[in-house]
């Protein structure tokens, strides 16, 4: 599996650390309560198909990347800088 880092180009999967669902970009309010926080921290859509997750270019430029990929085929569909995605959400 090769992942295209927006800064460094296409690199081997070994260079990246996988964090998990990109839900982490949408952190609830600190006072949102235990049900909302449980849902955010633990529950997942966990799709068999297209998903968006966060990867960290650990052995490269140290940037956070939102990877859109298919969990059934391992195909990488899109990569974006997490900072840009977060800005667009604001």
């Amino acid at each position: 599996m090769r992942i295209k880092c927006p800064h460094c180009g296409e690199r081997d999967r070994r260079e990246f650390y996988y964090v998990g669902d990109a839900v982490a970009l949408d952190r609830p309010d600190p006072d949102a309560g235990d049900v909302v926080w449980d849902d955010y921290v633990h529950n997942r859509d966990n799709p068999a198909g297209v998903t968006r997750d966060l990867w960290y270019h650990e052995s490269g430029c140290s940037t956070w990347i939102v990877v859109t990929r298919n969990t059934v085929t391992h195909e990488i569909l899109k990569t974006e800088l997490a900072s840009k995605v977060k800005e667009a959400m604001a």
Binding site: M1, D12, R13, R14, Y18, V19, G20, D21, D34, V35, D38, D39, V41, H42, N43, R44, D45, N46, P47, A48, T51, D53, T71, V72, T73, H74
Partner: protein
């Protein structure tokens, strides 16, 4: 059809023509008392114990593919009860006891082989942790022996004791641990359930779960609707998709775990050996193949195949620990889809807000050894509406409340840490 020594001799002398099918190929009826979604190890054992322990025989197992075609046919067959935390400890202890009587109970040769399991340790700190784990196992009534380096050498003389990276300090020996023939476990439970009247319906995919006014009414399938008073979801590997049919998100992320098998060799490895520092474990099948694996690939996946970095890592670790296997040729590798939970422990629980709907999921990478007790406790829950004492802590609300978090590794209750 039952197995016996007499039957083996008779069939041997008459051309083996008298062996019948092991279970009925059932067609779906319009209605059952209970439906189990998923014809894998856990689903079949749930059906078997519902029939045997609770007298519920008007039940069906619906399976989208063929019986035993999922993770029960794709694992590395290890059976052990070496858990530390209360909640896990009594459950796996119960499971191991069921394993020990399983062949007699099912009249089926599941090739359960208690060849002993040795978890190696490589530092003083790890030795202390293993001593403590061993004490917990003994307190639970199971067996554990702390071996020093020479003790390990007696059992496993072929290890590289001189390695500088992770010198072997000793091992925790669990003599009752071992392996079993994975497919036979599914087949044995299937036959036992079918003989007791359970309908095993293959090639029947559940497409929706019917719920009216907070009560489960049945399921929609590719072979038509089936009504049921109770429905159990036992589909580890696909839990998220089936739970979504009931409008529930689960604390599960699916990951791929790879396994490998070599060509058949003469007996060289008598035990199950795990090398935690290198993330590697190995045993030898009765056919002679070395069966081994390592860690998850560590990204969400349903692909049932992994990538090269983990293959490389597992081979590296194997060569570090036991260079003697270096010339063995790997015949096959494959991946299984693991229901990974935040704390690394499973769920056997009611589905909140829906009467009659139950779920058994989240087995992480340790579901095979749990097959007997999982079915036993899930059947208890479905039949009596109360949690079995051995699985009383496998609750879905533990991620929210933080009570009875079962983080066996002590790495934190969060996805991507187990």
């Amino acid at each position: 059809m039952r197995f016996s020594g007499w039957k083996v001799i008779k069939e041997g002398l008459s051309g083996n023509k008298g062996w019948g099918a092991h279970w009925r190929d059932a067609q779906p009826k319009p209605e059952y008392d209970a439906i189990i979604i998923g014809g894998g190890g856990h689903g079949l054992s749930t059906a078997y114990y519902l029939a045997k322990n609770h007298g519920l025989t008007n039940i069906a197992v619906v399976e989208k593919g063929y019986l035993g075609g999922g993770n029960v046919g794709r694992n590395t067959t290890i059976v052990r009860a070496n858990y530390f935390l209360q909640g896990n400890s009594e459950f796996y202890s119960h499971s191991l006891k069921l394993w020990e009587g399983l062949e007699e109970d099912l009249n089926y040769n599941v090739m359960h082989s208690q060849r002993g399991l040795i978890n190696l340790f490589h530092s003083d700190g790890q030795r202390d942790a293993f001593a403590r784990r061993g004490n917990m196992m003994v307190n639970q009534g199971d067996d554990a022996i702390l071996l020093d380096r020479e003790g390990v050498r007696k059992h496993l003389p072929y290890l590289d004791f001189e390695q500088t990276r992770f010198p072997i300090f000793g091992g925790l020996y669990h003599p009752r641990g071992g392996t079993a023939r994975h497919d036979a476990v599914a087949w044995g439970y299937a036959r036992g359930a079918s003989d007791r009247g359970v309908d095993l319906i293959q090639n029947c995919e559940v497409t929706d779960i019917d719920i009216e006014g907070g009560v489960v009414k049945g399921v929609q399938t590719t072979r038509g609707p089936i009504k049921a008073k109770k429905v159990g979801i036992v589909v580890a590997g696909r839990s998220g998709q089936v739970a979504a049919m009931a409008g529930r998100r689960l604390p599960i992320e699916s990951h791929v775990l790879q396994a490998f098998v070599t060509e058949g060799l003469k007996p060289v490895i008598d035990h199950v050996v795990s090398f935690g520092m290198g993330h590697f474990y190995i045993s030898q099948s009765d056919k002679g193949g070395l069966v081994f694996g390592g860690d998850l690939d560590f990204y969400a996946s349903y692909a049932q195949r992994g990538n090269l970095p983990m293959k490389e890592h597992v081979m590296d670790a194997g060569m570090t620990l036991m260079p003697m296997i270096g010339k063995a040729k790997v015949l096959r590798s494959w991946g299984g889809i693991m229901d990974m939970t935040p704390d690394g422990s499973p769920f056997i629980d009611k589905m909140d807000g829906v009467d009659g709907l139950f779920i058994d999921c989240g087995w992480n990478y340790g579901g095979f050894k749990a097959v007997p007790a999982s079915g036993w406790c899930m059947a208890h829950l479905m039949a009596t509406d109360t949690h079995h004492e051995a699985a009383a802590k496998f609750r879905l609300d533990r991620t929210r409340t933080g009570v009875n978090i079962l983080d066996e590794e002590g790495t934190g209750s969060q996805h991507n840490l187990h």
